[in-house]
């Protein structure tokens, strides 16, 4: 099962932002993003939107991995997200990992966290809800 997850295919937006699967932790991909001008907001710090984009990508990847384990190929549609920004993101590599709280028949709820050097000092914390739709035939 780790095989499929580590080959998780990131969409064009994630690739152009420099995101990549760093490693897989307890079945969920840890998505990483290096600091660069393209992700900078106020001078010297990560842009809140770039952090949000990273959180969403990690949430999406965690859910895709969970659905794969369940043998489901449902389509995933984002419904909403709530982000708490806990501290400024500095000029370092940033990581994010999602935890699927529940993946039901129609809705999935995912918690996501982002951090930098020290895992216990979170940069942002969020929850995200997804609508699950049957695959298009």
């Amino acid at each position: 099962m780790g095989q499929a997850v580590s080959e998780y295919h990131l969409p064009p937006y994630a690739r152009s932002m420099g995101m990549e699967v760093d490693h897989v932790e307890d079945g969920a991909p840890v998505i990483a993003m290096d600091f660069a001008t393209r992700v900078m907001g106020r001078p010297g710090f990560l842009h809140g939107g770039a952090i949000g984009g990273l959180l969403e990508m990690a949430a999406h990847a965690a859910l895709r991995a969970e659905l794969e384990r369940q043998g489901s190929d449902s389509r995933i549609k984002p419904v909403n997200i709530s982000i708490e920004y806990l501290r400024g993101g500095v000029q370092e590599r940033t990581f994010a990992r999602g935890e699927v709280i529940r993946a039901g028949r129609r809705v999935a709820n995912v918690r996501v966290e982002a951090w930098q050097g020290d895992r216990s000092r979170l940069v942002a914390s969020s929850w995200m809800n997804f609508l699950l739709a049957p695959p298009k035939t």
């Binding site: 064009p12 106020r42 997200i81």
Partner: protein, 163 residues
């Protein structure tokens, strides 16, 4: 960047006496720099307590390769920027602030190829917080892509930016 750009734009911790935040000039400065510049955001319009920024569709910002639908990440960034600037627009000046939280409802998927517009309004400023809301749409606000609500913390300029 030139000295003039710094004044028009923002990340300057020692603003001149009587500085007035010009939403159009400020937005044009932002959209040339950092993440905002990378995404290709553009100034669109503004009023007393609101501002509109636009984000033209681009292939490398797509979230679903098969459909060409824009990723939601760029929409978060657009709403974050627009709501942030709505605070300075309402205040008529620039004050350092950081995003405390941002909540977004994705009402529908963006149309492939279409420019997304974010209309953001600052509806209240207290001593330490500014309250904002916004709508992402494609030209018709009654047919929104996303709704947002958020709060910015007004902070000291010390350490706010690392030029």
């Amino acid at each position: 960047m030139s000295k003039d750009e710094k004044v028009a734009g923002v990340p300057n911790t020692s603003l001149p006496e009587g500085f007035v935040f010009d939403p159009e000039r400020g937005a044009r400065w932002f959209t040339r720099h950092g993440h905002t510049g990378f995404l290709g955001m553009e100034y669109h319009d503004h009023g007393e307590d609101w501002i509109e920024l636009a984000l033209p569709w681009r292939e490398d910002l797509v979230g679903v390769e098969e459909t060409g639908v824009l990723a939601s990440g760029p929409i978060i960034s657009l709403l974050d920027n627009a709501t942030s600037m709505s605070v300075w627009t309402r205040q008529g000046t620039f004050n350092p602030q950081v995003t405390l939280d941002l909540r977004i409802d994705y009402v529908r998927a963006a149309t492939p190829g279409k420019t997304v517009i974010a209309r953001a309004e600052c509806y209240q400023v207290r001593r330490s917080m500014a309250f904002v809301r916004g709508i992402a749409h494609e030209g018709d606000v009654t047919d929104p892509i996303a709704h947002t609500a958020g709060i910015f913390m007004l902070v000291s300029s010390v350490g706010w930016a690392k030029p």
